[in-house]
Amino acid sequence: MNAQPVKSTEGAAGRREDRASSSLAPIRPGAFGYDQARHLLWRAGFGGTPQQIQTLASWGPEKAVDYLLEVGAVPDGSSRQASFDKDIMQPPSAEERRLYAEARRKGDEEALAKARLMRQQKERADRMQVGEMQKWWLGKMIESPRPLEEKMTLFWHGHFATSYRTIENSYHMFLQNEMFRRHAVGNFAELLFGIIRDPAMIAYLDNNDSRKGRANENLAREIMELFALGIGRYSEKDIKEGARALTGYTFRDDEFYFDKGNHDDGAKTILGKSGKLDGDDFVKAILEQRACSQFICRKLYSFLVADLPPLERAGPGDSDGPAGSVVSQLASTMLASKYEMKPVLRRLFLSEHFYHPAVMAQQIKSPVVLVVGAVRSLNTPVRDLSILNDAMDLMGQNLLFPPSVKGWDGGRSWINTSTFYVRQNILAYLLTGKKPVGYDANADTQKYDPSELLGELAKADPGAEREPARVVEYLLRLTLGRAPEAARSSLMEFVNTSGGRVDGENRRDLLVGLLLLITAMPEYQLC
C-alpha cells in the first residue's frame, strides 16, 4: 500500500474553480485515495487518524462507506455508560401540592419559603445533571467506534432543536438524545412519529398545553416549517387543523400519554387529506408530500456537503444551482426507500459529487466537529471535558442548549474575531494542556506525543519521518487536506529556526510546535 497520500483525482487542481458537478454517479474506485478517505471520515464522522485514513483508502469506496454506515455491525465499545437520575424533576406529589396550597391559603411564609427553597435545590441539581450529560455526550462523540451514529445524532439534535433552557428537565433531554441515536441512520418517518411523542419536544413547543377548543399551534407549525416541509409548503389552515390533530398528545412523567379527553376528534383537512385526523394522521399527511424528502435531503446536504442559502418561499431549492439537482436526486432515493436514511447516505458518500475539489476541505467546522475532530484525528489527550464543553459554548455551540427551535445557523455564523481565538486556543489546550485562561499552576501536564502520527509515513517510506520537508507536507495533508505553498514555507522556516531537524530529543516539542501553528491557521477551521 502506498502510504504517501495519493494525489486526488487527476487534473483536480485545474478544475478547482469549477463548481461541483451535479453527478451522483459513483466515484471510480481508482479515484478514491488518501484525500478522499480523509474527507469521508471528516464528513461522515469527526476525522480520522492517519492509520484510519489509510485503512479506509485501502478498502476502496464501497467497503469504506459500508463500514461507516452499518453502525450496528460495530460493537459499541464506549466506556461511557449513561446513568442519570430520572427523578430529579418529577412534579410534586399530591401530598406536596396539598401542603403548598394550604401554606398559601394560610399565608404561612415560612412553609412557602421552604417550598421555594426545595424547588430551587431541585433545579440546581438538575442543572448539574444536564452539565454531566453534556460531558457524557461529548465523551461519547470522542470515543465512539461508530462516528456516523454520533454525527447523525448531532444532526437530529440541531434539526429537532430542543433546549434545556426552556424545558428544564435533563432526563427528558437524555431520552430525546437516545431517541436520536436510535434513529441516527434509521428511518426519518419513524423519527417524525417519535418526535410527536417525545416529552422534551412536547414540553418545548407547548403541546402539553394544547387542548380541544384552544389548540396550541406551536408544534404543528414548527413541524411543517422547520422539521419536515419548509416555509411556503403548507397553508395557515393546515397549521390550524394540524394543531387540532395534535391536541391531547402529551406526556406523564417520562412517557408519552394520549389524553383522549383533551383531543379534538372532529373532522379536519390537512394538506388535502380529510377525516377525523389525529397526530399520527397529521404526520402521515406530511410524509406523503414530495416536499418532505426534498426538505430533509436539503438540510442533510447543508450538514454533510456544503452550505446552502436559507430556504425561500419559492419552489424547492431553485436557487441552489447544481446542488439543487443533487438534493432532488437524493430526495428520490429517500422516497423510493420509504424514508430510510442509509440508502440516501450511501448514494451521497459514494458519489463523485461528494469528492469534488469544490466540496472537499471547504466546510467550516462546527465547534463540536472542531473539538471532537481534533482529539480523534490527532489522537491528543482528552484532558478535561468541562473545559472542552465550556469552549464549545464560547464558540457558540452549547450542546443541549441550541439557541432556538431553528437550531444552529452553522457555516460562517460560527466565525467571528472572538470565536476565532477560542478556536485556536482550545486546540493549543488539547495539544499542550495549557488552559485557555492564562497562566495556571495546575496546567494539565499530560504530555502529548504526535510522533505516532508519523507512523504511516515511516511505514511507506522509511526515513521520510526524519526529513523536515516530508514531515511538514505530511502533517499539512493530514490536517488541512492539502499543503499550500505559503503554509509550507512558514512551517519550514519555523523548523529551521528550531534546529532544522525533526528527529533527536526535541522531536516531540518540534512536532507539537508544528501542530500548534497548523491548528492556528485559518484553513484549519475547514474540513
Binding site: A358, D409, I415, T417, S418, Q424, T432, G438, F494, A520
Partner: protein
C-alpha cells in the same frame, strides 16, 4: 535563525495609517475603520467626536448579578413598613445618603461614590422597575432582561440593536461591505463584553460580541508556550485574503483569512488600548478593573458603541448585613468604581459620550428571612449615569402596603427604559429592536 521581520510586517502595517490607506483595497474594511479610529485617537486625543462618525455615543451596561436588594440600595427610609419588614437589616434613617428632590428615599450609606455622581448631576434613579408576571429564577429573569421578552426567548436586545444598525448596511463582522458602506455604518465594531463569555443581551443573529476576561486572553495563547512560535504565527495569520485561498474570494477559506486578520488587528487595538494608564486611580476590585478597561478603550477611540461589565455576588439569602456587611460592600465596590469611571472619563473628556445603565435581574422580597438575608423578589431600581441623563429620581417608590404575595409591584416596565436609551441616546428605532412598541421613558436631557 533570527527572527528578522519580513520587509513588510503587520506591525509596520498597523503602525502607519497612511500606508494602510494605500493598501485599503487589499484589506478588509474592518481594518480601515480601525485605522481611522487609531489615527483619530492619535491625532485628536481628547476630542469628543471622531471624524467621520456621525454619532459617537456609547452605552455601558453594568449588570449586578444575583438579584440586587433594591430596598437596601435605594432605601425608602420615610416609610414605616420598611423598618417593620426588616427589623435586622434595615438601614437607619440617619445614615441614609439623602437624594435631593426625592421623597423619603435615599442611598445606602456605603454608596458615597454614587452620591457624589448624584451631587454632580450625573445620576438618575429609576424606581420600581420590573415586568408583568415576574419570574424569580435567576436564569429566566436574567434572560427576560437580556432578550427584552417576557418569554425569555430570542436574540439579545443589544444584539438586535447591532443587527439592525450595523447589518442594515449589508456589512457584518468580516462581511463584505458594498463600496462606501464602511463610512455609512455607524457601529462597525461589535460590542465588547468583559467576562468569560458574552452575555445573551449582546448576541445578535448576525453580529456577535467580542468578549474577554482580560485583554491578554483575547489573543493566541500558543505564543506563550514558546516564543519561537510568535513570528510564524503572525505570518500565517496576516496573509489576509490571498490568491491562494482555494475557491476564490467568496470561499470559506478567504472568509476565514479575512477574519484571522481582523482578529489580529482588533486584538492589537484592544490590548494597546487597555495598556494605557488611566488618569485616575481605580479601586482594585473586579468591577473597578472592568470599568478601568472600558474607560481606556473608550479613550483609545475604539468605535465600539456598547460595553458590558458584570458585578456579581448579589444573591444575599443569608447574612447580608445592614449599613455594614456583605451587601454594603458590594454596593460600595460598585459605587466607588462608578465614581472613578466618570472621573477618568472626564479627565480625557469622554464623559459626555458615555451613558451607563445599571440593572439586576430582580430585586428581593420586602421582608427579611430567618437567616438575616432576603429571598428572590421582583421590582427594583435602575441607575442611569452620565452628564446627559435627566438627573434625580424617576417614578415613585413602589407601595410597601400594596404587595403581591410579599413582593413589590413594579411601576415602570424595564423595556420603557431600554426604549428611552435606544431612542434618545443611541438614536435607534426602539420598535424594531424591542420588537414591540414601548413608550420611551424620558431619560436623557433635552438638548
Amino acid at each position: 535563525m533570527t527572527f528578522d521581520h519580513p520587509a513588510y510586517t503587520r506591525r509596520q502595517f498597523l503602525g502607519n495609517g497612511l500606508m494602510l490607506t494605500s493598501a485599503a483595497l487589499a484589506v478588509p474594511s474592518f481594518i480601515q475603520s480601525s485605522a481611522q479610529a487609531m489615527t483619530a485617537a492619535l491625532l485628536n486625543a481628547g476630542v469628543t467626536s471622531l471624524p467621520g462618525v456621525p454619532d459617537d455615543h456609547v452605552l455601558v451596561v453594568v449588570q449586578l448579578s444575583g438579584g440586587n436588594d433594591g430596598l437596601n440600595t435605594v432605601v425608602p427610609y420615610g416609610y414605616g413598613e420598611y423598618y417593620k419588614a426588616r427589623p435586622g437589616i434595615g438601614i437607619p434613617a440617619d445614615q441614609i445618603l439623602k437624594l435631593s428632590g426625592s421623597d423619603g428615599v435615599g442611598l445606602h450609606p456605603q454608596m458615597t461614590g454614587l452620591k457624589a455622581l448624584h451631587d454632580d448631576g450625573l445620576l438618575t434613579v429609576v424606581q420600581g422597575v420590573g415586568y408583568p408576571n415576574p419570574n424569580r429564577s435567576h436564569f429566566k429573569s436574567m434572560d427576560i432582561w437580556h432578550t427584552a421578552d417576557t418569554t425569555a426567548t430570542g436574540d439579545g436586545w443589544l444584539g438586535r440593536y447591532f443587527d439592525s444598525e450595523c447589518c442594515g448596511f449589508g456589512k457584518g463582522e468580516s462581511g463584505r461591505a458594498p463600496a462606501g458602506a464602511a463610512e455609512a455604518a455607524v457601529s462597525n465594531q461589535p460590542g465588547i463584553a468583559i467576562g468569560r463569555s458574552a452575555p445573551l443581551a449582546m448576541q445578535g443573529r448576525k453580529i456577535k460580541p467580542i468578549s474577554f476576561e482580560s485583554a491578554d486572553l483575547f489573543r493566541w495563547i500558543g505564543q506563550d508556550i514558546h516564543e519561537s512560535l510568535k513570528n510564524p504565527y503572525q505570518e500565517i495569520n496576516r496573509r489576509g485574503e490571498t490568491a491562494e485561498a482555494a475557491g476564490g474570494s467568496d470561499s470559506n477559506a478567504a472568509f476565514l483569512m479575512r477574519t484571522a486578520l481582523d482578529a489580529q488587528v482588533s486584538s492589537d487595538l484592544i490590548r494597546k488600548a487597555v495598556a494605557i494608564k488611566p488618569e485616575v486611580q481605580f479601586p482594585s476590585t473586579e468591577i473597578g478593573r472592568q470599568l478601568s478597561m472600558i474607560s481606556c478603550m473608550i479613550r483609545a477611540g475604539l468605535k465600539t458603541r456598547v460595553y458590558y461589565a458584570n458585578h456579581g455576588g448579589f444573591d444575599t439569602h443569608a447574612g447580608q448585613g445592614g449599613p455594614q456587611g456583605r451587601h454594603g460592600n458590594l454596593l460600595s465596590q460598585y459605587a466607588e468604581a462608578m465614581r472613578a469611571f466618570y472621573k477618568d472619563l472626564k479627565a480625557h473628556e469622554g464623559d459626555k459620550r458615555v451613558l451607563t445603565m445599571t440593572f439586576s435581574e430582580f430585586g428581593r422580597r420586602v421582608g427579611q428571612n430567618a437567616s438575616g438575608g432576603t429571598d428572590h423578589g421582583t421590582a427594583a431600581p435602575m441607575f442611569l449615569c452620565g452628564p446627559m441623563v435627566r438627573g434625580g429620581v424617576i417614578g415613585e417608590h413602589p407601595s410597601l402596603k400594596d404587595l403581591d404575595d410579599g413582593d413589590l409591584k413594579y411601576r415602570i416596565d424595564f423595556r420603557t427604559v431600554y426604549a428611552g436609551i435606544l431612542e434618545q441616546w443611541m438614536k435607534a428605532d426602539s420598535r424594531t429592536i424591542l420588537e414591540g412598541s414601548y413608550r420611551a421613558l424620558d431619560v436623557v436631557k433635552k438638548s
